[in-house]
């Protein structure tokens, strides 16, 4: 049996608790990350939804920007909404700094204000059929590089993408529901039937990466001479 991966959730601000709950539901162990020391103890990381400007200020003030950039270069990292903005190489509307690890251009608040927020159901290449997607003051990936795999789109724009160890969604998979018979508008709806396929997919990315890291370590140990080969692709 594969070990349970420890997946960090960047907990400076935002809906980190929703992500932690989602991770528990896919048999991963969530761990809140607010410092560089905490970041070193996790196998993968989720950068949640929230305000990307707030994330940036706190990352800079806490000296967490460089360690996070380094982590995201090699380890499985998943950004949703604000997290996706942080991962993208170029940010527009307005322009702002980012970790720049995903070869993509992202436009902030591209669909408008809160009143334009929407829940839609779109096709995805993840198994299990169409996926419900919650877009809240969402950004839009206006361009992605050729090395970026598109896992789902909305109106012709990618909304769920993967580039090697990076996964990014412009919507909130932590809030996705499976098809539910009633949407009564009662607060009961908030906790009904979560759809955890995206978190499941990311947890598998983390398990695979940890396995590859183990394999390369044991391969190195068995070699008679020291090598400088790293695990980087």
């Amino acid at each position: 049996m594969q070990p349970i991966p420890i997946i960090g959730v960047l907990a400076l601000q935002g809906d980190y608790e929703s992500h932690a709950r989602a991770l528990e539901q896919v048999n991963a162990q969530p761990k809140m990350v607010r410092t560089a020391a905490e970041l070193e103890k996790v196998d993968g990381l989720i950068i949640p939804g929230g305000e990307s400007t707030t994330f940036l200020k706190l990352l800079e003030r806490e000296g967490l920007f460089a360690p996070l950039e380094k982590f995201a270069c090699t380890r499985p990292t998943f950004g949703t909404c604000a997290g996706c903005i942080l991962l993208a190489k170029r940010v527009t509307h307005p322009e702002q700094e980012s970790l720049g690890v995903l070869d993509a251009t992202v436009e902030r608040n591209a669909y408008g204000r809160q009143i334009d927020s929407q829940i839609v159901t779109e096709e995805t290449s993840l198994p299990g059929g169409p996926l419900e997607m919650v877009f809240i003051r969402a950004p839009r990936l206006t361009h992605v590089g050729s090395g970026v795999e598109v896992l789902a789109s909305r109106d012709g724009f990618p909304v769920l993408v993967r580039q090697k160890n990076i996964l990014a969604a412009t919507f909130h998979p932590e809030l996705s529901h499976a098809k539910s018979p009633s949407q009564s508008g009662s607060p009961d709806d908030l906790e009904r039937n979560p759809d955890r396929r995206v978190h499941q997919y990311f947890a598998q990315m983390v398990r695979d990466a940890s396995q590859a890291l183990e394999n390369s370590k044991s391969a190195q140990e068995s070699l008679p001479v020291q090598t400088t080969v790293t695990n980087r692709q």
């Binding site: 601000q13 939804g49 929230g50 902030r108």
Partner: protein, 313 residues
């Protein structure tokens, strides 16, 4: 009353509506929402790391000092602030004033605060918040009040505290009350829950949900008198999921603005303290970074007629 079922809105709430409204509130968790009265203050707030700003004509301390009828801010000010920042913009309407709420929704504000800080427009009814696409936040002093607002469609609850005083004592009182009320529900039998619904004057269905989850079905923030980084950390440790700071950042007393440097240092320090609310080392640093705090008014020395928290029912 007959006509106010739909408030003229084309899109009364669907099941999706509530999830989108609460969804935005979820994204604001762990953050600081700051009161601002112009574009310059809004930019300072955004640069300091605020997750949202509340667009106002006067902050609560000024409203308290100047008196008169306090109403929704003028659309010109709200638009100026919306144009200045990329973070969500909230604005306040008077309790029960659904026409002001319609105006705010039309302007495109991201959250409406049906607020006791403004002069109430209706002595019996709050706005029917289900009728709006824009999410609402409402103040509460105890669990029953919080659940009545949620039943009306609020997507976020905040403690009322006592706005514009810089005295955190009633934010603490209200938060402790709500947390205690919720904890008591979690150990009650079915029969006791029916009785609790009556005692709290709240819908049984919501009482049952809180009993099961141990928390409100919508995010629970704190407001009203928070003025220092340690105040923010205090309410966070008591269970508030995010913090509203009103007069405490930009005012030095109830009529004078703080300097820009002072306001910036307070805003940055309170943002940091809200994130690292349980780390005394960071709290000591942020408290040292922060220059001065508003002079404030002690709530205990105020007469009951000047309290804002008793507005709303």
């Amino acid at each position: 009353m007959a006509n106010h079922q739909n408030n003229g809105n084309a899109n009364p709430e669907s099941g999706h509506g509530l999830r989108l409204k609460v969804g935005l509130a979820e994204m604001l968790k762990g953050g600081v929402i700051m009161d601002v009265i112009n574009a310059e203050q809004a930019e300072i707030a955004e640069k300091a790391g605020a997750v949202a700003v509340m667009a106002l004509e006067r902050v609560p301390a000024q409203i308290r000092a100047e008196g008169g009828v306090a109403r929704m801010a003028s659309p010109a000010i709200i638009k100026e602030i919306m144009a200045a920042v990329s973070i969500p913009v909230m604005a306040k309407c008077r309790i029960g004033h659904f026409a002001e709420a319609q105006v705010l929704q039309e302007l495109g504000v991201d959250f409406i605060d049906e607020s006791e800080v403004l002069t109430p427009a209706d002595e019996l009814h709050h706005v029917n918040k289900h009728d709006f696409k824009t999410p609402f936040v409402c103040g509460a002093r105890d669990l029953g009040e919080a659940l009545r607002r949620i039943a009306e469609g609020a997507a976020m609850i905040r403690t009322k505290g006592e706005a514009g005083t810089g005295d955190v004592v009633h934010a603490v009182k209200h938060l402790r009350q709500i947390v205690k009320d919720m904890r008591q529900l979690t150990v009650m039998s079915e029969e006791e829950l029916f009785a609790a619904a009556k005692d709290h004057r709240a819908p049984y269905e919501l009482i049952r949900m809180v009993a099961k989850a141990g928390k409100l079905p919508v995010p629970n923030f704190s407001a009203g008198g928070i003025a220092t980084p340690a105040d923010a950390a205090l309410v966070r440790q008591l269970g508030a999921e995010a913090v509203f700071v009103g007069s405490g950042i930009f005012m030095s007393d109830s009529t004078h603005l703080a300097s820009i440097e002072e306001a910036t240092s307070r805003a940055r320090a309170i943002v940091r303290a809200t994130t690292f609310f349980d780390d005394p080392k960071v709290l000591a640093e942020t408290s040292a970074e922060c220059t001065g705090a508003m002079k404030g008014l002690a709530v205990a020395a105020m007469d009951t007629a000047s309290l804002m928290q008793t507005r709303g029912w």
